[in-house]
């Protein structure tokens, strides 16, 4: 077993453990922190694959953006002493069954699919290639999806501002921290 294998099993193990802990923990902020560990371990696997760009995106968007927003909303709404109510036994059994069925389906699909190794030379996933692919409009270019997604994000941003904006006569003197536009522009 090489060092690379050990690292992989470390990351994979922590992803599995913390995913389970995320849904079983009864304290909401702990769940959020376990989710952070899952996302950071995923970034670690991307780093192992030498796909640094995606790993950094994973850290910025998920760990630095989404988790921070989740924690922020928890901070605003709940208290340390609050614990989630334990679900009734019947609910627990059914959700366990549903989860097991979902996992079995995914694993079976993976095992049955014949992965054929590609003969074409690997494209190095450095920033230069990623950047070129993102804005090129040729066969393998992503210019159209990129633009479409930016329009979607713009719409989401405008929507968030409209929702957050108070009526004129209700508005207070101080500005509210605008968290939503921040997130939309990040992702």
């Amino acid at each position: 077993m090489t060092l690379n294998d050990i690292m992989f099993y470390l990351f994979a193990g922590s992803i599995l453990t913390f995913s389970v802990l995320t849904v079983t923990s009864r304290r909401i902020l702990r769940s959020a922190v376990y989710l952070l560990f899952v996302l950071v371990s995923t970034a670690g696997i991307y780093f192992m694959l030498n796909y640094n760009f995606l790993a950094a995106v994973q850290l910025t968007v998920y760990a630095g953006g989404i988790i921070v927003l989740i924690i922020f909303s928890i901070l605003l709404t709940s208290h340390v002493s609050e614990k989630a109510v334990v679900a009734p036994v019947r609910q627990q059994i059914f959700s366990a069954l549903a989860t097991a069925a979902g996992a079995a389906l995914t694993i079976l699909t993976f095992l049955q699919y014949a992965f054929t190794p590609s003969a074409s030379p690997a494209v190095e996933a450095n920033v230069h290639n990623v950047g070129l692919a993102l804005v090129s409009y040729g066969r393998d270019g992503f210019a159209l999806p990129f633009e479409v997604i930016s329009i979607l994000l713009l719409a989401a941003m405008v929507g968030a501002i409209v929702l957050a904006k108070k009526e004129k006569h209700l508005a207070t003197a101080g500005n509210q921290p605008k968290i939503n536009p921040d997130n939309s522009s990040k992702s």
Partner: protein
């Protein structure tokens, strides 16, 4: 093991070969990890202590005092004595705190700091990781640090801590945008995010001279936003002592408090080092076009000295801000970011693109 103060790549390469001769590749990797880890920890501890001492002296100078003078020559050992005292303090655990998260928070802050330090080029060949996404990586991992602050504030179960964490969270989230965008301005000029390439392309002129007006605007914005990112004065309302006791780390004591304290100072070092690397030429000496003799004299000063001279200069600037400007209110902080810095930054990026497209730079 040929030691060359101007180029460390030979030394590190020889060390690597020396280890490979004596042990298996796996053992070599582990030994090298240990060496790098221990040197980073030593650096963080010693440089952090030095920065605390420097801050007290700079503060004293601005207030026409002498600062610590009793322990050691000119009080040099004062912070070490303080640190020993901190280590011996009892670790207090608030009764109704969330114990797991309360203990975890200082580590998240510290880990983010260490991760960000890993890519900084200290001198030629003295860089642990050289990603092709260098600058992006620093902004990515430093965005994780704020989670530690938020968790610390919430899990302490103290209203002062919670308010401090909320304030600092809102502040860091907002100013992260300005930090990244001012760095993007320079990425456009450099054409690369790899820190070694960024430093290397400043051989003839530093980016702040090369990119003249837009680079200068980006540098000023980076300094302002970087100061806010590190929760330092005039943006220190997250730990405004007169209203919030100490902000998010009110309930922490002993070594856990020291973690937050050290991380804050090392983050200031990271901001200064990024400013140095991206705007002020990193470890590159100061060169002026065709003044050959001047350039040769400047080349004589080792890169490590250049790097730390520039970093300490920027750190002095940041300390200067803290001890001269009054603290901002929370609405002023958010107005400054969203209504002034962000639009200026976006226009500045356009200006820089124009400058690069028309080749109107040195």
């Amino acid at each position: 093991m040929g030691f060359n103060i101007y180029d460390f790549s030979g030394m590190t390469h020889n060390m690597h070969l020396w280890f490979l001769e004596r042990m298996s590749p796996t053992a070599t990797t582990i030994v090298e990890w240990t060496i790098i880890g221990v040197s980073y920890m030593l650096f963080v501890a010693l440089f952090g202590l030095f920065l605390v001492y420097a801050e007290r002296k700079v503060c004293a100078a601005f207030q026409q005092r002498l600062g610590p003078m009793r322990v050691g020559y000119w009080g040099l050992l004062q912070t070490i004595a303080d640190f020993i005292k901190l280590l011996m303090k009892e670790l207090i655990m608030p009764k109704s705190a969330d114990k797991f998260l309360y203990n975890l928070a200082p580590f998240i802050v510290m880990i983010a700091t260490f991760l960000a330090m890993a890519v900084l080029p200290f001198a030629k060949g003295l860089q642990t990781l050289d990603f092709d996404i260098g600058i992006f990586y620093v902004t990515a991992v430093s965005s994780v640090g704020v989670i530690g602050i938020l968790i610390a504030g919430w899990s302490s179960n103290n209203k002062y801590s919670l308010i401090g964490a909320m304030r600092s969270g809102a502040q860091i989230l907002s100013y992260e945008l300005s930090v990244s965008l001012s760095l993007v301005t320079i990425i456009i000029l450099a054409g690369s995010m790899q820190l070694s390439v960024v430093v290397e392309s400043q051989r003839d002129a530093w980016f702040i001279f090369k990119g003249h007006i837009p680079a200068l605007i980006a540098f000023v914005i980076f300094l302002i936003a970087g100061t806010a990112e590190t929760n330092r004065g005039p943006f220190d309302l997250a730990e405004a002592e007169s209203e919030l006791t100490a902000g998010f780390h009110t309930e922490y004591s002993g070594i856990k408090f020291a973690f937050f304290f050290l991380a804050e100072y090392i983050n200031m070092f990271i901001v200064a080092a990024m400013a140095t690397t991206v705007f002020l030429g990193g470890w590159m000496p100061l060169h002026f076009g065709s003044f050959e003799s001047f350039n040769v004299v400047m080349d004589f000063i080792p890169p490590l000295v250049w790097f730390f001279m520039k970093v300490l200069g920027v750190i002095f600037l940041i300390m200067w801000f803290k001890w001269t400007f009054p603290r901002l209110r929370v609405d002023q902080i958010l107005t400054l970011e969203w209504k002034y810095l962000l639009p200026i930054n976006l226009i500045n990026i356009l200006l820089m693109s124009l400058v690069v497209l028309t080749k109107f730079h040195l």
